[in-house]
Amino acid sequence: MLKVDRIDCCYGNTQVLRGFSLELACGEILCLLGRNGAGKTTALKAIMGLVKPRAGAITVDGVDLTHLPAEAAPRHGIGYVPQGRRLFADLTVAENLEIGLMARHTPRAARERALDLFPALRERLDQASGTLSGGEQQMLAIARALCLEPKVILLDEPTEGLMPSMVARIREVVSTLRRQGTAVLLVEQRVEAVLEIADHVLFVENGRSRDRLAAAELRARPELLGRFVGVGD
């Protein structure tokens, strides 16, 4: 359903992605693994239309997003949970969720479903989102993306800097989403956590997409991880 076909992306004159490709099917969890600076975040931004590729194509359900304005990605059902959460910290929890609803004109029921996954947010609806704890902020960032009832959700290091209990909670939610048929593209540093929930793993190295392996295979043969420098240690 989501297809990234050999894209090149640059910031100014530095090329960051080189012929980067991936494919994501309905209800699949694909995890991007790669060291810091490999280009994972840039790949997600390119999918969201925030960084425009110089070459290549990005399609969702056959719709070519490559040359459409950035509004096209959320309108076509791509939910984004950016690295570092990027909440609208001045705005209340309810207003952050409202922005998720507005993105695709989804009914209020979407918000209720998102809050059912994170009941703790319900008590804080009128609080400025910048005053939430780190874990709550991450929950809100995910809930905000879920408000647009995404077909695909992009999660960029959602467990970065969180307590273990929070990490487990977010992993559960990701599994729940998959069960409900949402495709998940996950960027994660914690290899062990990834292998438990992902279907496939795609290695990213120096702006290039490398081998795509089944998570089951990696679980059986952990030594394969060693092939990818900077991952798994």
Partner: protein, 293 residues
């Protein structure tokens, strides 16, 4: 006149100035807050509002109230259009780069000013007040129109607050202001928000000018003081803080009025500028600004 009534008169004059200044500075603050653009041409939008108001009132002729009301509608719309075109043709092409837009809006300042000079001419021209009644106080009579100006400015600021705090458009503006990239990722049409905010900022200045022009006369150089005072207000109020902008406008506008009446307008500007310097040294984020800009 005794000191007491004289002070009251000065305060009332100050309040009229403060009301118009608050509107004008709110426009500058909104543009800076959402777009991070320092609009040096803001005072020219003010001047353009006044000049167009004269022109409309002159064309309508008939009754002063009719001409004024027409000006109150037409002038802000026309100024908003000019601003929207400038935003589209200049600022957007510069990618809203903070430094490039300062230079570009300085250019815009001279373009608008010279355009006004060559069409409107160098003379100051009055617009008749729409109403002509005086409030009779025990010590002096006071123009009823000036009180209307205060009420109208207050009502407009409430409207702006309501739009920002309570509507979807306002929510989009606040989200864009906080994080333009993430706003884009949630389908907020950032380009249109920018165009709208720039036009709205200019329109607020234009409305302020239409309100003042029955008191002050339209002139092609009249944009200087509102620009200086708006900058002072925005810096003291905290860059981008709307509440701070309004409070600072009240302080600066009132003291400008009072000091001008008792001493001289020049001293008022000197003191205000001095206050800016002090605020910048002691509290660079402004008196009411929570965050650094």
């Amino acid at each position: 006149m005794d000191f007491g009534p004289y002070l009251l008169l000065a305060t009332m004059e100050g309040a009229v100035g403060a009301a118009v200044l608050a509107l004008t500075a709110l426009g500058l603050s909104l543009v800076f807050g959402v777009m991070r653009v320092v609009n040096v041409a803001h005072g020219e939008f003010f001047m353009l509002g006044a000049v167009i108001a004269w022109w409309v009132a002159h064309l309508v002729g008939a009754h002063p109230a009719l001409g004024f009301l027409a000006a109150l509608v037409v002038a802000p719309i026309m100024v908003g259009l000019v601003a929207a075109v400038a935003e589209r043709l200049v600022l957007r092409r510069l990618g809203y780069d903070p430094e490039a837009t300062i230079v570009a809006t300085i250019g815009l300042l001279y373009v608008i000013q010279q355009a006004a000079l060559s069409t409107f001419g160098p003379d100051a021209r009055p617009v008749e007040p729409p109403v002509d009644f005086r409030i009779l106080l025990p010590w002096f009579g006071y123009s009823g129109y000036k009180l209307l100006v205060i009420a109208a400015a207050a009502a407009l600021m409430l409207c702006v607050w309501w739009v920002l705090a309570r509507t979807r458009v306002g929510l989009m503006m606040r989200a864009t202001r906080f994080d333009r990239e993430t706003a884009r990722a949630f389908a907020i049409p950032v380009d249109r928000v920018y165009g709208g905010v720039f036009a709205l900022g200019a329109m607020l200045a234009a409305v302020g000018a239409v309100l003042i022009v029955p008191i002050q006369q339209a002139h092609y150089l009249m944009g200087h003081d509102p620009l200086l005072l708006s900058f002072i207000v925005v810096i003291i109020g905290g860059l981008g803080s709307l509440r701070g902008t309004v409070l600072a406008a009240l302080v600066i506008g009132m003291s400008d009025g009072v000091i001008s009446v008792f001493f001289s307008p020049t001293l008022a500007k000197i003191l205000a500028t001095l206050l800016v310097a002090i605020v910048l040294v002691i509290r660079p984020t402004g008196l009411f600004g929570a965050r650094a800009a």
